[in-house]
Each structure stands twice: as structure tokens, then as C-alpha cells.
Amino acid sequence: MGKASSKLSKEELKELKEITHFESKELQQWYKGFLKDCPSGQLSRDDLRGVYKQFFPFGDPGAFSDLVFDVFDTDNNGTVDFKEFITALSISSRGSVDEKLKWAFQLYDLNKDGLISQEEMLSIVTAIYKMVGSMMKVPEDESTPDKRVQKLFASMDADKDGQITFEEFSEGSKKDPTILSALNLYDGLV
């Protein structure tokens, strides 16, 4: 995206319009907001941790923040720029369920082998539990990250090979009404 100027250029707009679900006006508006929150136009790992501290003060969001940062930072350059931000926002708020799941899969597949291992899932769930702390009430059979992971694998890992493929991840998420409604929490609101 280069240097942060106050408005998106024609070329930038054209590109973003193609890869996101946003209109020009919306893109300019979000860009303005992005620069207000992040005047350099580049969001660092620490910046993101700061954001999570604001939203999850009662737990420790550090680990989750770092995991998510890697999903946002698609070019792996250590910062999140506007393009990376608006792409993530576009998918998560306006994308189809399939788009969302495809994008989300990256969060779990830490070693990029196309599979989610129990270890990988545990690290994500643990990070989330740590982040939310005692504020969230969960049923007894999900009271620890381990229990939650076992439950997930029991329902998603169709072939019981201890790995979840993207297809298993996608099917498993869609057939679980709780997960499905969580995926659509912000539909129509952005």
C-alpha cells in the first residue's frame, strides 16, 4: 500500500473493489478510519496486542493476538496494512460461509500442511480460553481447552485419523448450529 496518504488512489480502489465486497465509498471511509487509528498505515504485532488488551482485559489475549496477527499479515512482513485489514474484514463480515471457513482455516493450520492436528487445535482453543478468562460461561463438557478439543475432534474428524482436513473442518462447522450462527454474527452489520 506504500506510504499512508489520506485517500486511496484510483488504482488502489480498483484493486480493493475487486478483491473485497466493499464499494468505493465504503473503502474510502474505512481507509479514513484505519488511518485515524493507525496513522502510519501499518499495524504492528504490538498494536494488535494492545487492541486485544482493550477488548479482553480480564484474560491474557497475547497468544491469541499473535496467532491472529499471522492470519491478517498475509505477506508475512510483520505488519498489517490496510489491504490486509480490509480483506479480512470483507470476508468475515460480508463473505459467504465457505469464504469465511476457508479464510479461518489458516488460523488453525499452523504449519500449513493442509491439516489441523490435535496439537494445533489445542493451541488455538487454549489461546482463546486464556483470552476470555473466567468471563465466559461454557458447559461442563467444554470446561477445559482439552475437553473442547476432544469434543471438536469427536464431531469433525470423520475418519478418526486424528487430523482434520479442510473438508472435515468445513462440513463440521456447517452442521453445528452454534458454530454456524457464530460465523454469521455480523452479517448485514458492516
Binding site: 479514513k32 478510519g33 484505519f34 485515524k36 487509528d37 488488551k53 482493550q54 477488548f55 482485559p57 480480564f58 491474557d60 497468544a63 499473535d66 499471522d70 491478517f72 508475512n76 479480512a88 474484514l89 468475515s92 463480515s93 469465511k100 479464510w103 479461518a104 489458516q106 499452523l110 504449519n111 496439537e119 494445533e120 487445535m121 489445542l122 493451541s123 482453543v125 487454549t126 482463546i128 480460553y129 486464556k130 476470555v132 478468562g133 473466567s134 468471563m135 465466559m136 461454557v138 467444554e142 470446561s143 477445559t144 481447552p145 482439552d146 475437553k147 471438536l152 473442518f169 462447522s173 452454534t178 458454530i179 457464530a182 460465523l183 454474527l185 455480523y186 452479517d187 448485514g188 458492516v190
Partner: protein, 889 residues
């Protein structure tokens, strides 16, 4: 992306030594795993979480924490969720604090704004209180339109105004260009598969922050100028001229309303107001929008209530402003005439929030009548406060669209007419008549002048469907059981032909206004050419005329009787032999007797829910300091009550309606010690220039006259009441440094209780500043001690004991009181905070929390009481007041 580079692979998580990995082996309960201590938050919030869970967690603690944690969105949000657990009455009590915290303490969190906004949707009274407080804050910050506080106050003010005056619109749920919540939103979608409950948990906070308005459009000034050029008025008749000049006098009061118009317009620039809500399941906003959709009729009724109420309160204030122009001799007549005019629009959908306790089940009271002849202009140097008696029916006002009266109101929706507005009450436009265009320039807009219909046009959207619910004055007002027509009500009050009366009272109003204008012009002319004697002659004639208007039939009813009765009552109360202070005399009549008398004569008296309320209308003063003092006294009262300390203080309430106006609850059974003494002493005026004043009557004499023999049960009960009230008030005067304690500000009620009023000087300001005469800890005169039977009497000992007990109890709340002062002093213009941050710490010191109980007792006896007892300084101050103000010592 490699997990090594990011340091966030599975190994990375384990490195955080969370101990969670260990949990995999030994399955543990949810509580254990989620113990905040074990997940090790970087900031130690365990005490905060424990406090939130504690059943003792108080609303004020919550407010205090809102200030302390203003820097964290998540904590702020959690605290605001907690606010919702407190009963609405408690919230209402602390609304001044909540609004102040909202305006004065900068935060990124939108939670408090959301909370206040929702509260306003739920409670009409809270809406009015918040609205008026915001109005006051806005006028404080008028010269700093770029400040955080101004922007915040304006934003919420706009929202409320929209809710009140525009037809209800579903609250905006759309997420705006806020990066932070957007980042959390995106990541939580990714996390949905792993822990959907976590996504759900954080959604309300994401929405709250996401909805926040970013871009502040301050195009107000320009928009206003354009509107100012709209001029469609063809008639510049006398009435309008009168109104115009009346407005100039009232301009201070109306400044806020003018400002109000601006906010109206600014609201128009808010985007997306009509966007339809989609998706989501949890927010209160959703509940509210559902409510709006479900009950449009209820909302119409509420809108009607808000309009009527604001117009009512505004008219009461305008009267005070208009009276300022009237010569003192004619003020009472003018006031009574003004009130008679207001009376014509009653009963209406009006009450007095905060002051008159509400009926059960969210039913408001309905004001049905103001008794013009019972109103009194109070003594005041530069302003004209006045006292009125308001008749109301308890719980008669609801927003139930199915009630008979409300159905009637809704059926009238085509007719626009506005209450308590002289322009409108004269010629209500026929249904369907186009709105009258009125000149609308910046100098002259205010509620009294611009018909409300015009204000309405400034409110964004849906004006066409906004219906006015004000009933036709000449038709029956349904729903009051046996409905009384307005004409009947007037007839009952005036005891003459209704129709002719209605007409002539309008003439009277014009005459009165004309007279006032001429008088004020004469004031100006006096510095010019007209011979002084001539001016005086004209003035005298006009005043004479104005006074004679008072003899109008409408007002004349029962007048003579009332005078005689007054005298009678004066004689009864405290053995008053006569009275040359009408305000005092009016206050002196026994409240119960007065109520019964009014009930007998009132056309509404036969309703079982009829009741009477006495209120003082004040303009020209910032009453927020008074209100704060009353609030702290009420809080102390609660604390003592809960701890079963047998002391008595009067709960007093003040309704703030702008930065320089408000309604004040009256002490109905009390009389100032000054008045009591003056009356007892006789008619001799104190000689100002050195001559020896007459021997002033004592409190002991008063008690003897009022309560009989010292040994009688009545006397002893009254004395006990005196002691039970003197102790807590003495303590409060010391703790809060309440000054200006001359006898005009100390009352005695008809049961012997002492009551302090007027808190213009407290905490860090005092009359005379550094050279203040009142340096005693509190006022404890020889006279008080004599009344109790001397320093060795049982009553005096009880006084000391109660003082100590009250002190021991109250100082447990030292932190709360100092936090209260600290919070309210930020960015405050109130004089009591003139020492800045030191104000709160000095208050804390006076509680002497460092002393042991025994040491505190010693301190009370040896320092406080000893220093106060007959302090030469107290006496000096009373003598000073006697000489300069004629206030009896």
C-alpha cells in the same frame, strides 16, 4: 507463515506457562481452570472481579470504577453491564454523577453512552433528567465546542432529542469505520469453529464500539444561517412584539434552548438513522427497536409527554424571567395571572420528575391544577423565585394506548396545538392548517417564541408522521373518571361565567405584558430626558393598574378569606403575632391543614388520588451545587438509616433543568429561625445604623409558645426532635463545610426538627473568602445549648452522643464522599470546588479516619464541640447578618 517466526505455534503457547497444559491430565472443573489467578492477567484485576461479584458492590463504587478504568474498553463495558443490575431509583439518584462522568472523563469506550441511551428508552423520567443535565453541561462548554465533553454531550443530546421529538426510529446498529472492533470482529469469526461461545461473548462489546460515531460534522453554524433566512411571518402584531421583547429578557434562559435547536440540526447530519436492523440477537438496542416497532402508539404518547413536560417547565421558568421586569409591588399579581393562564391548559400530560414520588408500576403523576392564589413570590435580591402549590393525581398518567384518556389523546392527533404557550393558546390552528412560518433567526429562537411546530421541522425525518396529541382545550378531557371540561375548571377556580372569563384573561395577559414593557422602557428612559417625577408618576399608575388586575374574578375567589386565614395561621404557628414577610407567612401554615383546605376548594379534590406538592421555581442561579449538597445529605441519611443511627435529617431534592434553572422541593412544615424570631420579637425593625436592636426573642421562648410547658410530652418530644436533627446537621456542616449559616438558612419545622437549607457555600468556598467570619466547625450557639437545658443537661449529652455515633458511622464512608467530590469537581464550574483537587482530600481529612474510635470521641468533644460552642465567630457572623441584612440572630 512459520510458527517459529511468529513464536505462536503450539510450543509457543506452552511457553506462556499458563499451566493450562497441565489441566489436560487432571480434568478439573470449569471454575478451577478459569480462575483468573491461573490465567494470569498482566494487570491484577482479581480485586475488581471480586468486587463485581460481591453482593455489597454499590452503584457508587461502580461509578467510581468507571472513572478509574476509563482507559480500558473491556472493563468499562463490563462495569456498564453491571450498572444494569441496579434498581432504577438508585440509578435516578446518581444520574448527575453518571452524566458528569460521561461528559468529563474521556474514554474510548462507548459503553456509558450506550447505557444512558438505553436508560432513556426505558424511563421517561430518566430521559428528562439526563436531557436537562446534558443541556446544562453543554452550556458550560459552549465556548469549547471542540472539547471532548462538548462532543460527547452533544452526541447523546442529539440521540435523546431524536428519540423524543422525531418519530421513533430503530436505533442504528450498523458498524462504522472503527478499526479496533473490526479487527476483533474478523478474528472472532476465524475463532468461531474453535470456541463459538467466545465469539458470542464478545459480540456486544464489538457492536458497542463498532457503532461509535467517528466523524463529527460541525456544519451547524452554516445550516443555521441558512435556516435563519427563512422568513414567512407576515403578521407583526402587538402580541408578537410583546413576546419578542419578553424573550430578550428571557434570553439567558433561552440560550440553552437556542443551543438545543442547533443540536437538532446537527442531528440531521447523522448518517444511516433509518437503516433497518438486521441480524444479531443480543443487544439491548435490538430490544428497544422491537419495542418501537411494536408500540408506535405508546411512543406517540411518550412524545406528547416529553413535549408537554418540557413546555410546562419552560413556561414556569419564563414566568420567573418575566417577573423580573415587573416592579416588586406588582409581582404577586403578575405571578398569579401568569399561573391562571397556565392553569387553563391543565390537566395535561405533565408531572415533576424526581421531586414528586412516582406511583407504583411506572405510572406517573398527573398535574391537574396550580392554585394561582396560593402562589407566592419569594424574597430575593436580583431574581424572582416563586413558590407554587401543584395539585396532582397520583399515578394517573400512563402510556398505555388502551386507556380511555390516552385513546382520546391519540384520536386528536391531527390537531396541532401546544400547551402553556401563549401564542398558541390564543388561536389554535384548525386541523390541517399549514404550520405557521415564523421568523427564525439566531437571536430570537427559543421555545417560548418559536411555536413548537417550527422546532419540529428541524428534527430529521418523519415529521409528517409525527402526531401532536394535545387535546383541544374546549373539549372534554377524557379519562379522569367524571371528566371536567376546562371551562368548568376555570369556573370552579374563578366562580364566574366561564366564557367571558376565558376571553378577558387573555386581555389581561396582554395588558400585563404591555404594562411590563412600558415599565422597563421607563427604566431606560429614566437616564434620559423625561423628568424624574413624571416617570415616577407614570410608574405608580401602572403598578396600581397591575395590582388592580389581581382583582379579576378568576383570581379574586377566596382571596379575602385567604388573607384572614393567613393571619389566623400565623397566630397559630409559633405564636406569630403578625407578619410583614408574606413568604414566611405562606410557609407557616400547617401543611396538612392547608392541603385539606385546598382539597375542599379544588374541583379535583374529590379524586381519591388527589395530592398536593409544593415547589419553588428558580431561574438565574446554577442549582447544581445545591443539588449536590442535597444529594450528599440524602446519602448520609441513607447510611444512618441503614446503620440504625437514631438521627433525623430532611431529604431534599432539586430538579436541574438547565445550567441556571431548576425546581426545588419545599420544606412544607418549616419556618426559618429568622422569621420565627422576627415574628416573636414583634414589629420592631432592627436599626441598621448602630441603634440598639430590640431584645430578640429566643428559641426557648419559641418552643414554649409552640409546644407548651417544658415538662409536657409535646415539648419533650419536640426537644428530642431538635436534638436528633441538630446532631447530624452539625456533623454535616463540619464535614461538608457548609457556611453562610445565618438564621435565614436554618429552619425549624412544626415538630421541632432543625433543617438546614441553602448550600451556596460549602467545601471550599465561603462568604468572605479568606476573611470568613465562620471559622467554628459548626454552628452551636448558646441559645441552642440553653434550649437543650445547658451544657450539663441530659439533652445536651444526648446531642454529643448522637454526634459521635453519627460520625463513627459516616466516616466508614469517607472514601465514598471524597470520591464523590473528586469525581464531580473535574472540569466543574461550581464554586464549592474552587480549591481543585485539594477539595476532596481536605474533605477526606475532616473524616479523621486515622483516629481510633476513642480518639475520635475526644476529638468531637474537645475540638469540634468545644470550639463551636458559643463561638465568638458564630456570634460575630450572626451580628454581621443582623446589621447588614436584617436577619435575626
Amino acid at each position: 507463515m512459520s510458527s517459529q517466526a511468529s513464536g505462536s505455534g503450539p510450543a509457543g503457547v506452552d511457553d506462556d506457562n499458563s499451566g493450562i497444559k497441565g489441566d489436560r491430565i487432571a480434568p478439573e472443573s470449569f471454575e478451577d481452570t478459569m480462575d483468573p489467578a491461573r490465567v494470569e492477567p498482566t494487570r491484577d484485576l482479581a480485586p475488581l472481579l471480586a468486587a463485581l461479584e460481591s453482593p455489597k458492590f454499590s452503584l457508587f463504587e461502580c461509578i467510581d470504577l468507571l472513572v478509574k478504568y476509563a482507559d480500558n474498553i473491556g472493563i468499562h463495558f463490563r462495569l456498564c453491564q453491571q450498572l444494569r443490575n441496579f434498581p432504577q431509583l438508585q440509578i435516578e439518584f446518581f444520574l448527575p454523577q453518571l452524566v458528569h462522568v460521561f461528559v468529563a472523563y474521556e474514554t474510548e469506550s462507548a459503553a456509558l453512552e450506550d447505557f444512558l441511551n438505553e436508560l432513556c428508552h426505558e424511563s421517561t423520567h430518566c430521559t428528562l433528567i439526563v436531557f436537562w443535565h446534558l443541556q446544562a453541561s453543554l452550556s458550560d462548554l459552549e465556548d469549547q465546542p471542540q472539547s471532548y465533553g462538548f462532543a460527547a454531550a452533544k452526541r447523546l443530546y442529539n440521540k435523546i432529542q431524536n428519540m423524543i421529538f422525531a418519530s421513533p426510529i430503530a436505533p442504528d446498529e450498523q458498524i462504522r469505520d472503527n478499526t479496533q472492533p473490526a479487527l476483533v470482529l474478523a478474528s472472532m469469526i476465524a475463532a468461531s469453529t474453535a470456541v463459538p461461545e467466545a465469539s458470542r461473548y464478545i459480540r456486544p462489546l464489538v457492536m458497542s464500539q463498532g457503532r461509535k460515531q467517528r466523524s463529527k460534522l460541525l456544519r451547524v453554524a452554516n445550516r443555521l444561517k441558512r435556516l435563519g433566512s427563512v422568513s414567512g411571518t407576515s403578521s407583526t402584531n402587538t402580541q408578537e412584539a410583546i413576546e419578542h421583547s419578553a424573550d430578550q429578557v428571557a434570553s439567558r434562559a433561552s440560550a440553552v434552548f437556542r443551543a438545543g435547536h442547533q443540536y437538532d440540526i446537527a442531528a440531521q447530519s447523522m448518517p444511516d438513522l433509518s437503516r433497518v436492523v438486521a441480524g444479531g440477537y443480543d443487544s439491548a438496542a435490538r430490544r428497544l427497536s422491537g419495542d418501537i416497532v411494536r408500540s408506535p402508539l405508546r411512543n406517540q404518547l411518550k412524545t406528547n409527554y416529553f413535549r408537554s413536560e418540557m413546555q410546562f417547565v419552560y413556561s414556569l421558568q419564563s414566568i420567573s424571567n418575566r417577573l423580573l421586569r415587573v416592579p416588586p409591588a406588582a409581582r404577586l399579581s403578575a405571578l398569579q395571572l401568569e399561573l391562571a393562564l397556565i392553569n387553563r391548559d391543565l390537566p395535561a400530560e405533565v408531572d415533576i420528575p424526581l421531586l414528586i414520588p412516582d406511583g407504583a408500576g411506572n405510572r406517573h403523576n398527573r398535574i391537574v391544577r396550580i392554585s394561582p392564589t396560593e402562589a407566592t413570590v419569594l424574597n430575593s435580591a436580583e431574581k424572582v423565585p416563586y413558590l407554587l402549590l401543584v395539585e396532582y393525581l397520583k399515578g394517573d398518567l400512563t402510556f398505555n394506548p388502551d386507556s380511555e384518556r390516552n385513546r382520546h389523546l391519540l384520536a386528536k392527533n391531527g390537531q396541532r396545538r401546544y400547551l402553556f404557550d401563549r401564542n398558541f393558546s390564543q388561536s389554535p390552528p384548525a386541523p390541517g392548517t399549514p404550520l405557521i412560518e415564523t421568523t427564525f433567526d439566531e437571536e430570537e429562537q427559543d421555545l417560548g417564541l418559536v411555536p413548537v411546530a417550527d422546532r419540529e421541522r428541524l428534527v430529521p425525518s418523519a415529521n409528517a408522521s409525527t402526531v401532536s396529541l394535545v387535546p383541544d382545550p374546549n373539549s372534554e378531557s377524557g379519562g379522569l373518571g367524571a371528566p371536567l371540561t376546562r371551562a368548568e375548571a376555570v369556573a370552579a377556580a374563578g366562580n364566574t361565567e366561564p366564557v367571558s372569563n376565558t376571553v378577558s384573561i387573555n386581555d389581561l395577559a396582554s395588558q400585563m405584558d404591555m404594562a411590563s414593557i412600558i415599565l422597563s422602557q421607563l427604566e431606560v428612559a429614566q437616564s434620559g430626558k423625561l423628568p424624574k417625577a413624571e416617570v415616577e408618576a407614570i410608574k405608580a399608575r401602572i403598578v396600581d393598574n397591575m395590582q388592580s388586575m389581581q382583582n379579576h374574578d378568576l383570581l379574586a375567589a377566596s382571596k379575602g378569606e385567604a388573607g384572614a386565614r393567613k393571619l389566623e395561621n400565623d397566630l397559630k404557628t409559633a405564636g406569630l403575632s403578625s407578619s410583614d414577610d408574606p413568604s414566611a407567612a405562606n410557609l407557616a401554615e400547617d401543611w396538612t391543614a392547608r392541603k385539606n383546605r385546598l382539597r375542599q376548594s379544588s374541583p379535583y379534590g374529590h379524586y381519591p388520588t388527589w395530592d398536593l406538592f409544593s415547589v419553588i421555581v428558580k431561574t438565574g442561579d446554577d442549582l447544581r451545587q445545591e443539588a449536590l449538597a442535597c444529594q450528599m445529605i440524602s446519602r448520609a441519611r441513607q447510611i444512618w438509616r441503614d446503620a440504625h443511627v437514631d438521627v433525623w435529617v430532611k431529604e431534599m431534592r432539586i430538579l436541574i433543568t438547565s445550567s441556571n434553572s431548576g425546581l426545588v422541593e419545599t420544606i412544607t412544615n418549616g419556618l426559618s429561625i429568622h422569621s420565627i424570631k422576627k415574628a416573636l420579637t414583634g414589629l420592631q425593625e432592627p436599626t441598621a445604623a448602630g441603634g440598639a436592636p430590640a431584645k430578640v426573642a429566643t428559641l426557648s421562648q419559641h418552643f414554649a409558645v409552640k409546644f407548651g410547658d417544658v415538662s409536657s410530652v409535646r415539648y419533650q418530644q419536640a426537644l428530642r426532635n431538635f436534638v436528633r436533627s441538630l446532631a447530624p446537621y452539625s456533623l454535616l456542616c463540619y464535614i461538608l463545610q457548609i457556611k453562610d449559616r445565618h438564621n435565614g438558612n436554618i429552619l425549624l419545622d412544626n415538630e421541632g426538627h432543625i433543617i438546614h437549607i441553602d448550600f451556596g457555600f460549602m467545601l471550599s468556598n465561603s462568604p468572605g473568602g479568606r476573611f470568613a467570619l465562620e471559622v467554628a466547625p459548626f454552628k452551636l450557639t448558646h441559645e441552642y445549648v440553653d434550649l437543650m437545658g445547658g451544657p450539663n443537661s441530659p439533652a445536651f449529652k444526648e446531642f454529643i452522643a448522637l454526634f459521635k455515633q453519627a460520625f463513627h458511622t459516616l466516616r466508614q464512608y469517607a472514601d465514598e464522599f471524597s470520591a464523590m467530590v473528586e469525581i464531580m469537581s473535574k472540569d466543574s464550574t461550581l464554586a464549592c470546588f474552587q480549591n481543585g483537587p485539594a477539595t476532596a482530600s481536605q474533605l477526606k481529612q475532616r473524616f479523621h479516619t486515622d483516629l481510633s474510635d476513642a480518639d475520635l470521641d475526644n476529638f468531637v468533644e474537645n475540638s469540634l464541640v468545644y470550639k463551636s460552642y458559643g463561638s465568638v465567630y458564630t456570634r460575630g457572623y450572626d451580628q454581621f447578618q443582623m446589621l447588614t441584612q436584617g436577619i435575626y440572630s
